[in-house]
């Protein structure tokens, strides 16, 4: 056990810190153009797609280096890259499973954010039971025709392309009849409609596909291999952001402490109230435990040990923590915590939520409900942990009984 960073990694961190301090935008990025420009600045700085293989424009960077960059970005509250799903999921999927032609056609444009990507997985009737998805892709000889509806599509409104799961064979078991495609969003058969969430924002979309066209050359892997590919892409989603997440929580904690100094009740600052202190102490202890656990996972990733099903523990841990965190924060702040506009000046209005957007306490609180649902709900994570980590027997499932 040795949790010190190596001199090389420390030097890298210092250089990264200097770069971000010098380059982070000082004003909020409002337009797509501004966000694209920031992405390209990051790309030119060498901070985009670091984990990708060199031959496709990446740096083969170790997990720790990627985590350091994400952490330094969180430290200065830097806006995220605009093509997160393209960089984090679509690109690695094409690299692992794509044809040479697909790699040549798509990867460079993903890195440079010339083309933005979304993931077309969930459907209104296929959430936790993703494999029951009904969107069909029919072989029309020279192309596939796609019909169906997707939902919870992050970045749908700004995407040019989508990584699509669709059913190509209804005669086999549901997991085996799914294929993976790359689909152009800009065509008459694809209709993207923003979906307004409880936050009041539109972080997600619904995507309707009616007679949409997918080229034969845009099938990823083999026909029927889609479920297997989706399983590997889901595992790309975890790990690298864990330290950055804790850094955001920590900066929010210090904002919260500031607020408890500014707010007074019964003649004394809130921070002198033993009940408030107990809550703050509990939050901070849990937050630190998240940090230690993140370091543990990161050190394994850095040695090339894939976390496998254990990544479900990480996801369950942080997403459930985040709910408790903002619940306690709003208990402490009272109705001030719910204010979306018109907060007294001494209370911070820029709280960094895990979505990476600086927002209000109210927004962070509402957004915290998303984490235990997206990319595998807490209940699904507990099933995975129970079956694949603890080796408990599988439950009898109606859809597997023949």
């Amino acid at each position: 056990m040795d949790l010190r960073y190596s001199p090389d990694d420390l030097a890298f961190r210092d250089a990264t810190r200097r770069w971000f301090e010098a380059n982070v935008p000082t004003t909020e990025l409002k337009t797509l153009g501004e966000r694209r420009e920031w992405h390209r600045t990051l790309f030119d700085g060498g901070y985009v797609g670091m984990g990708w293989p060199r031959e496709y424009g990446g740096q083969d960077a170790r997990a720790l280096r990627q985590a350091i960059v994400a952490d330094e970005m969180a430290r200065v509250n830097a806006p995220p890259t605009i093509n997160g799903l393209g960089i984090g999921i679509v690109g690695p999927t094409i690299i692992h499973h794509g044809t040479e032609a697909q790699k040549q056609r798509y990867l460079k444009k993903i890195l440079a954010a010339d083309e933005l990507w979304c993931q077309l997985y969930s459907e209104p009737n296929a959430g936790s039971d993703l494999a029951s998805l009904r969107t069909r892709a029919e072989d029309k000889g020279d192309h596939f025709e796609v019909n169906g509806q997707k939902i919870w599509t992050s970045y749908g409104a700004i995407s040019d392309w989508g990584l699509l799961l669709a059913r190509t064979d209804t005669s086999v078991a549901k997991h085996r009849g799914i294929s993976c495609f790359l689909i152009n969003i800009h065509q008459p058969g694809v209709d993207v409609r923003p979906l307004k969430q409880v936050t009041g924002n539109q972080e997600f979309c619904e995507v309707f596909m009616t007679g949409a066209r997918v080229e034969k050359s845009d099938l990823v892997g083999r026909l029927g291999q889609g479920w297997e590919i989706a399983q590997t892409t889901l595992s790309y989603e975890r790990g690298g952001n864990s330290l950055a997440r804790v850094t955001r929580y920590t900066s929010a904690f210090h904002e919260l402490v500031k607020a408890t100094r500014a707010l007074r009740r019964a003649g004394r600052p809130l921070i002198d109230d033993p009940l408030v202190r107990a809550k703050l102490g509990r939050i901070y202890a849990e937050l630190e435990v998240q940090r230690y656990a993140a370091l543990r996972v990161l050190s394994a990733l850095d040695k090339g040990e894939g976390p496998g099903a254990a990544s479900s523990i990480t996801k369950l841990s942080y997403s459930e923590f985040e709910k408790r965190y903002f619940e306690l924060a709003l208990e402490i702040l009272g109705p001030y915590g719910q204010v979306t506009a018109g907060l007294p000046e001494q209370l911070s209005t820029r709280v960094s939520a895990s979505s990476g957007h600086g927002e209000t306490w109210a927004y962070a609180y509402l957004w915290s409900r998303a984490g235990t649902i997206y990319s595998g709900s807490s209940e699904i994570q507990k099933n995975v942990i129970g079956e694949r980590v603890l080796g408990l027997p599988k439950e009898t499932r109606a859809d597997r009984v023949k």
Binding site: M1, L3, K382, L392
Partner: protein
């Protein structure tokens, strides 16, 4: 950066598991619960032979010069076995003598402890159970060249087998640590029986106990700093032992859920049980991260070592209680019987929960460290 145990640390862990599996079975533990002394002399000597008692002492005094991570590895395994005996208080007191003692004090106690010839303990709290050393109520008055101690100490672990007790007392210079031997006139001990019979406590009365000037550990008035330092180690040590007890309860629950059948299926196939086990694992893995991060931070003298120790103790105290309790729930009726072993581990975790500062107390320390 590497969070995994080194090869040597893993070997130590494996050796500890093998030794305790063989020598500290639940039958042995139960035998010692019924034993008036409560610990095994033979096991103590064998632990000395294995180098466990001098693990973190300097080689010059018969130790191995290892650190808190290695100590935590052993305590983790001891918690897993519900080992009954004065290991934790002895190595804690030995650390105090090593870090603040005179050469004479070190020569007197450290080789004896390392070779299994002496046991030691700490008597931190007075009747009000306040762990902050500045609350120390026991007093020491200067009498001639020596000192006279008066007061009462509560929940002193394994005092009845200790050859030396570390007693904080208030002097005109401030809180000072004294080394008190059990035969000293005016010292009486009353055994306290509690739910974990593998942890023996005593209430101490110091009625004008006279000690020499050489009984002071460090200098008069530097006791507060020393006690704070010891409390941090003790917090991590206790957290490590609670972690081991919790993991044992988790393992037993998972094993049971695989074989116990109801409604014609193993109960582990039901989400109600599987999800409980998954939550228990989450608590155990987070506890592991907290314990070993804190142990490493103490060894590395990291800036956040004090914070990490309080984080570990506050988090693991509640996590272990939760996991051990849920283990009984997963087992159902059988888990509530005296014959079934679960309660050995559950009671060990519970006994350590309030010691060296409970979760609330450590959370207050955390807040002070972070905001002041």
């Amino acid at each position: 950066m590497d969070f995994a145990f080194s090869g040597d640390q893993q070997l130590l862990k494996n050796a500890a598991r093998a030794f305790l599996d063989e020598r500290c079975t639940s039958a042995v533990v139960r035998g010692l619960w019924d034993d008036p002394r409560g610990e095994s002399e033979a096991m103590w000597k064998d632990m000395a032979q294995l180098g466990w008692l001098g693990l973190s002492l300097p080689e010059a005094y018969g130790g191995s010069g290892l650190g808190m991570v290695e100590t935590a590895i052993l305590l983790d395994e001891m918690g897993r076995a519900a080992y009954p005996g004065p290991y934790l208080p002895t190595v804690l007191a030995a650390h105090a003598v090593d870090s603040a003692g005179t050469t004479e004090q070190k020569n007197r106690w450290l080789p004896a402890i390392a070779t299994g010839g002496a046991r030691a303990t700490t008597a931190f709290v007075d009747a009000d159970l306040a762990w902050d050393p500045q609350s120390t109520a026991t007093r020491a008055e200067k009498v001639g060249a020596g000192w006279r101690l008066s007061g009462a100490k509560q929940f002193v672990a394994w005092a009845h087998v200790a050859d030396v007790l570390l007693v904080p007392a208030r002097t005109p210079d401030g809180v000072t640590l004294f080394l008190v031997e059990p035969a000293a006139a005016g010292l009486t001990m009353k055994p306290v029986t509690a739910i974990d019979m593998g942890t023996r406590w005593a209430a101490l009365t110091l009625d004008g106990v006279t000690v020499g000037a050489d009984a002071i550990l460090g200098a008069p008035g530097n006791g507060e700093r020393l006690v704070w330092e010891l409390l941090r180690r003790a917090a991590v040590a206790a957290a490590a032992e609670m972690l081991g007890a919790a993991r044992r309860c988790l393992d037993m629950s998972v094993g049971y859920a695989k074989v116990r059948e109801q409604f014609g299926q193993p109960i582990g196939s039901f989400q109600a049980i599987r999800h409980k086990c998954a939550e228990m694992l989450l608590s155990v893995e987070n506890s592991h991260a907290a314990v070993y991060y804190a142990a490493w931070a103490l060894d590395a003298k990291a800036e956040d070592a004090a914070l990490a120790a309080s984080v570990a103790k506050s988090y693991v105290s509640e996590a272990a209680r939760h996991v051990c309790g849920e283990a009984i729930q997963v087992h159902g009726g059988i888990g509530f019987t005296w014959e079934y072993d679960l309660h050995l581990y559950m009671k060990r975790a519970k006994a350590l929960e309030p010691m060296y500062g409970d979760a609330d107390w450590h959370r207050e320390q955390i807040l002070r460290l972070v905001t002041e």
